[in-house]
Homo-oligomer: 607 residues x 2
């Protein structure tokens, strides 16, 4: 007899509660001596209770009073970024790396708008980001007279009052919740808690707007004794969940050749444990496929891992997936870059999709339930003995593999294919690989990421992301005591967007590796349109290996830079454990031919 | 008898037409051979017809097809910036320096949102900025199905269609007009022309959204034979204008002690000629005062120029202005920084305000007319013989002057007061002084700018503006064959926001001077809150004098960097004509004490 769904969910909820308990322990409640604390301290304590230690941002005169209170909350570190966009990227990657939350602080108008592209990216890519903005004073917001305050965007009519809520409305376009705090202390605390919970539940940005005359408002500290319970809301009835799970199981038991695609929402909605329980139970009877985003979630060394489904651009894999009689797609995160450029091609009736906002069984679509409700029960109820064993496949060779084996000499001493090889051989377990939206992004489907993790921002695709993301992800590993290091592949055209954040690698002693692809401009664009057009050029004479010195590491005490012109140099540098473990920031400038791109990018652009 | 207003306006309109003719000549219409050209070429030709040669931006896959057409329009130069925010700042300063328009190109979503802070700044500060965005394809905008395209912000519900117009709506918050082009060629051309005219008329940003499947759409080239007539719309009847002018004249003739405040909207709305005609006619009978923004519009050497009105923070000047029996404030641009931090204090009944969106005579407020309608007629009709001669004032000494004369030894070998002196003595006629929103901003009211020009962005106050603005303003001088050079004062905390654009100084051979105030962090914030708080620190170990080498000028062929530790070194470097004329980019790193700020900033923050 099947274990009852009620028990499953009870266990699941208990598991979440355990988490909460653990979080509560992290926070040292003893440090709160007074019954009344400021709203600023309240917010900082709530952040600390999540286990977060690093918060990112840029100070400005509307958030200074607020930031002063950070020194009353032991354990939080202010990470001062060079600008707000970079801060938002860093916080986004922090959120992705620790899977809890990233926090970014900006000042009214100028600061929050500078960060907006990063926030929209977090919204689109599902990163739980808490954006706290120090706004104009509540007394000015409420004052009916026009006051032409700095940072307040002018009214269309210069003689009328400007709109103090304009930025808050815009933020609403890229966030799941927001709290525009006013002078009711209890309500303010409730709103803060609600936003934090909603950011976590939806894995998307939320805002707290704190007017600059409120940071000292007193609130009751006793609320902090009860940590925010980070749990998903189970909206469906247990009988409904039961019946959906049974329907899925029926299909799984009927099918002869099930394929499972594991996808990125598993990670973004923190369902790895439940997913891995399911895989464990499947007892190696069905084949497993990653998407480009989810690579590494199941080790590529797993006996049933077949390959990366990238639609028609990896045809041998696509043929296997698409010929299955049932495809269970778990954690489906559907977008252009994750869908093989819109070339996934599985008959609708053969699909079961578990996503974060819906469940789809064949033609039946249900937006009132989701993976978080269904997957725990499914993992618990499934009986592998009733599942037919699928044929085992030899892992199809990727176009990179075929090229490697061809033995044909390569045209240049260092090419992007060498980076694939260098990564395949040298990514360590638990490392985080960050790949910029640059030409090399199209190599990701072919990289053997094994037991490492991957961070991409390729759906939102804002170039310049990866550099500050390296800062954020590295700090998350440090703060949460996670193993591994960050290794980043960054384009030169991309790196110039956010260059100054290299300074923070020195300032905050970041131990990571960054490969800068020096190929003299926007190579990814050159292969789309305008191969020789001047708009695709950059100032290609930058002295990358001197940058970290310029940013203050004059004696190379905290960093090392390498100019790499040959494949062998790349292999030997990345495989060197002394270098890997030297505790410094490692910048590798790779001298690449201008038109060299991964095979998949050529295939895509030539279509 | 008074010259009739009809004739005055006729002359005024003719003058504008002359301008249009001149513009038409600039453009080489001969280069258009075909009757049909693409909409892209049409847009580029319209820009060229304004006399603009440099257009700023970052390429992206949604604007590449569009940018390809730039090579069909001789005379336009693509200025590839390192990121979009920097590009918007550069274009803003270009607009301010040439007083015509700045143009910035971005790509869908990521690019346009990155630029948004700069656009909001141009909106707030009245810079005519044309922002052209390459958007998602029209066929996708019209397609009802959800397509999760890169750069398209995800829908709140992942399974629903994302909103392709979200960014256009947001742009509407910071622009005066926009054209979302579709596939009707004639209508598209009309919209482009309308937006350009409205940008110019309102001196604020406007948008053209060009879907990425439209750049090759054919349009009729013959429209280009008729240049866009850059004229203000005269909405008031001539009799109304006449009666307003008469009312103003009556007050002017009745008063015994008229003061004129000339303000920045004169420049922003291109009324210098009319304003100078008025000053000429006044025959030195009344006293003239600048605001912080308008300094230099009347030479500080003018016999009737008394000083800079900065409210209570420059009391001797305020006493003179506020004791006048009538104050004619021309080109009024009212905001915190230009109003002496909200301390302008003139009795309402004594005020006549001519602004860009209204006229105010005592208590009478009229939003249906403006300075552009009234000033030409006023300048034409005024009869100086009827105006009482005001008492002549000795220019009051500023707090800086008093300090200079006190003879007391200064505390440190190099301080911000030395920069005031260095600028006072070394700004050349026609130079453009750009001052960042940094501690030194509060020295601007005391700088003797004489016949130079000033560019500030202190109302919007987005730090990081001045560095890319130096690029934009320098290119405007070059493109429009204007005399003078740019000299910029930039804080270190500010410079790190937009640092990478130093690269463009090398790439585009910019001949300008930049003073970097190395005072180890956000000094302006330290004197507000948190003098020793870590959030006001930056990585203060940057090697500023090596930066330009890092950005490619390895042999210092295009730039020179100076580390300056003593006042005398600053004076000798800025006064050296050989250095001034060396054609290179000059970076002066000034080593300043951490808490040294101009007197006015201390006065303001101590209140």
């Amino acid at each position: 007899m099947l274990q009852s769904t009620t028990n499953v969910l009870k266990n699941y909820i208990m598991l979440s509660s355990e988490n909460s308990d653990k979080i509560a322990k992290i926070k040292d409640l003893d440090q709160i001596k007074q019954k009344e604390i400021t709203i600023s301290e309240y917010i900082f304590h709530r952040i600390l209770q999540l286990g977060i230690k690093s918060i990112f941002g840029v100070p400005g005169d509307f958030n200074l009073k607020f930031l002063e209170h950070i020194y009353n909350v032991k354990g939080l570190n202010w990470i001062g970024c060079c600008n707000e966009l970079n801060a938002s990227y860093a916080a986004d990657a922090y959120a992705k790396a620790c899977q809890k939350m990233g926090v970014v602080f900006t000042t009214y108008g100028v600061g929050e708008l500078s960060a907006l592209n990063g926030i929209a990216g977090a919204y689109t890519e599902f990163a739980p980001l808490l954006h706290i903005v120090g706004t104009s004073a509540l007394k000015l917001k409420r004052n009916p007279n026009p006051i032409n305050l700095h940072h307040l965007a002018g009214n269309r009519k210069t003689y009328l009052k400007s709109d103090h809520y304009k930025y808050e409305r815009i933020a609403g376009e890229f966030s799941v919740d927001s709290a525009s705090l006013e002078d009711n202390a209890e309500e303010a605390c409730e709103m803060v808690d609600r936003v934090i919970l909603n950011v976590w539940r939806n894995s998307r940005p939320g805002y707290i707007f704190l007017p600059c005359d409120l940071p000292d408002m007193k609130v009751d500290s006793s609320r902090l004794q009860r940590p925010i319970e980070l749990e998903y809301e189970i909206k469906s009835s247990l009988s409904k969940i039961d019946s959906i799970v049974d329907k899925i199981l029926e299909k799984l038991y009927d099918a002869k050749n099930v394929s499972i695609i594991f996808d990125e929402f598993i990670r973004k909605f923190r369902m790895e444990k439940e997913f891995k329980a399911l895989v464990e139970k499947l007892d190696n009877k069905v084949n497993l496929y990653s998407t480009t985003y989810s690579k590494g979630l199941v080790s590529e060394l797993h006996p049933r891992y077949v390959g990366n489904y990238f639609g028609k651009y990896e045809k041998p894999v696509a043929d296997l997936v698409e010929s299955s009689d049932l495809v269970l797609h778990i954690g489906k995160f559907a977008h252009e870059i994750n869908d093989g450029m819109f070339t996934f091609n599985i008959e609708q009736k053969k699909q079961i999709n578990l996503s974060a906002q819906y469940i789809e069984i064949g033609e039946e679509f249900d937006e009132n339930t989701n993976m978080m409700e269904i997957l725990p029960a499914l993992a618990s109820k499934i009986d592998a003995s009733k599942i037919s064993e699928s044929a085992k496949h030899v892992k199809p060779k990727t176009s990179y593999d075929l090229k490697e084996e061809s033995g044909e000499p390569q045209e240049f001493p260092l090419m992007e294919q060498n980076i694939i090889k260098a990564l395949n051989e040298n990514i360590r377990d638990d490392d985080i690989l960050i790949v910029e939206t640059c030409s090399f992004l199209f190599a990701v489907p072919e990289i053997k990421i094994k037991n490492a993790r991957l961070i991409l921002q390729a759906y939102w695709a804002s170039i310049g992301y990866a550099l500050p993301a390296t800062l954020g992800a590295s700090l998350a590993l440090r703060d949460f005591n996670l193993p591994g290091k960050v290794i980043t592949v960054e384009g030169d055209g991309s790196a110039q967007m956010s260059l100054q954040e290299l300074s923070s690698m020195i300032r905050y002693n970041i131990d990571a590796t960054m490969l800068i692809l020096n190929n003299s401009g926007y190579t990814i664009e050159r292969v789309i349109i305008g191969p020789t057009s001047s708009y695709n050029d950059i100032n290609s004479n930058w002295q990358w290996c001197d940058m970290l010195k310029c940013f203050g590491d004059v004696k190379s005490e905290k960093s090392e830079s390498y100019k790499i012109t040959k494949a062998e140099e790349l292999y030997s540098t990345l495989s060197d454990n002394t270098i890997y473990n030297n505790g410094k920031f490692k910048l590798l400038e790779l001298m690449l031919p201008m038109y060299d791109v991964p095979h998949k990018l050529s295939a895509f652009t030539s279509k």
